[in-house]
């Protein structure tokens, strides 16, 4: 068990007791109060618990990483009273990744989830308006996937022809 931050001492056992099957405590990273790995199905419930019980009222970032063999979705949550971030990570399969949306919990996650869908192709179930943000509607690729190769412009142009 890694060394815990004192303010989180009651919270971490609480959350692992609440979700024993679904939450794993990972080693702390720099600038993070704690790093929790969550199974995809229970993300929304863990997030709600962290907001209501753990006072993480601000969702600062939803993003993703393509680790080639799997995808990872990250949530950085900020607590004003603890003055620190907690990180949630979710491992997803590369093929057809789905994860519950946290937009109903933090409205600010809306565009973050849209961007993650746009760039990495992660579907956020229950999102009110999951459209692309940076690329035009009808674009067929998710350019931050490692499998998306940086092509010559002419080829890219053919790829991007969406009208």
């Amino acid at each position: 068990m890694p060394e815990e931050n004192p303010p989180l001492r009651p919270l971490i056992p609480g959350i692992t007791a609440q979700f024993p099957q679904d939450v794993t405590v990972l080693p702390r990273r720099k600038d993070m109060l704690a790093v929790l790995k969550v199974t995809p199905a229970r993300v929304a419930e863990v997030a709600k618990y962290l907001r209501d019980v753990g006072s993480f009222e601000h969702c600062a970032l939803v993003s993703g990483v393509d680790w080639v063999d799997h995808l990872e979705v990250l949530y950085h949550l900020w607590s004003d009273s603890l003055k620190g971030y907690i990180e949630l990570t979710v491992d997803l399969p590369s093929e057809d990744p789905h994860v519950p949306s946290v937009t109903e919990i933090w409205r600010g996650a809306n565009w973050h989830e849209r961007e993650t869908w746009d760039m990495l192709g992660v579907r956020f179930d229950g999102h009110p308006d999951l459209r692309r943000v940076l690329m035009p509607e009808g674009y067929q690729f998710h350019p931050l996937r490692k499998s998306f190769e940086l092509h010559e412009p002419e080829e890219l142009e053919v790829k991007a022809r969406h009208v």
């Binding site: 940076l134 674009y139 690729f141 350019p143 940086l150 412009p153 890219l156 142009e157 991007a160």
Partner: protein, 198 residues
């Protein structure tokens, strides 16, 4: 009517005749003698009458002269090149001395200056603006981004050259081009329009 006004008017008309209108029988003399405050109505009447008499070929150079000396670019900015575009119409470079006045509506424009990076997401809007402009119209690609994608040429989101979207008449190199270069591009376009005579 003062003497200076008369001579000013005839000077402009003489310039048109020398530069553009080889037909000697064009009745420009009628125009030359009008009083300057009636200049526009009489010109309009003359030109309309000439078109009605089937002398469109003789009228065309006048429109060409008027059009190329009053190019109205669309007042929009896309990226860093737009700062140079704005500077080009400020006090120091004063693009308006060439009759080039940026307008805010594409309906009032006959020149599209693409001054910056165009992403695929923006490409629809660019084409819409271009189609909203009335004919005759021209387009200038200003800067490396508009010409060929610039530093973002291989990015997944950037159009590698706006000539994929709209027909470009003049390309201006530079990242960004200086305002002088932009004005030079506009003057080159004026020369191009004069040569086309259309």
């Amino acid at each position: 009517m003062s003497d200076s006004e008369t001579s000013g008017t005839s000077k402009i008309i003489t310039h048109v005749r020398e530069a553009d209108a080889p037909e000697p029988e064009v009745p420009f003399a009628e125009i030359e003698i009008v009083q300057s405050k009636e200049f526009i109505p009489v010109v309009k009447e003359n030109l309309t009458g000439m078109i009605q008499r089937g002398m469109e070929a003789a009228v065309k150079p006048v429109f060409n002269w008027a059009g190329r000396n009053s190019l109205f670019p669309l007042h929009w900015g896309l990226a860093c090149c737009a700062i140079e575009f704005a500077a080009g119409f400020g006090a120091r470079w004063d693009g308006e001395r060439f009759g080039v006045v940026p307008r805010s509506s594409p309906r009032q424009c006959d020149l599209l200056i693409v001054n910056g990076t165009v992403t695929w997401k923006l490409s629809h809007k660019l084409i819409t603006l271009w189609e909203q402009m009335p004919e005759p119209k021209w387009a200038i690609a200003m800067g490396n981004c508009a010409t060929g994608g610039g530093p973002f040429r291989t990015a997944y989101s950037v159009v590698p050259g706006v000539d994929k979207l709209v027909p470009i008449d003049v390309y201006i190199a530079g990242c960004p081009p200086r305002p002088e270069a932009m004005l030079d591009g506009i003057l080159r376009l004026e020369r191009l329009i004069r040569e086309r005579r259309g």
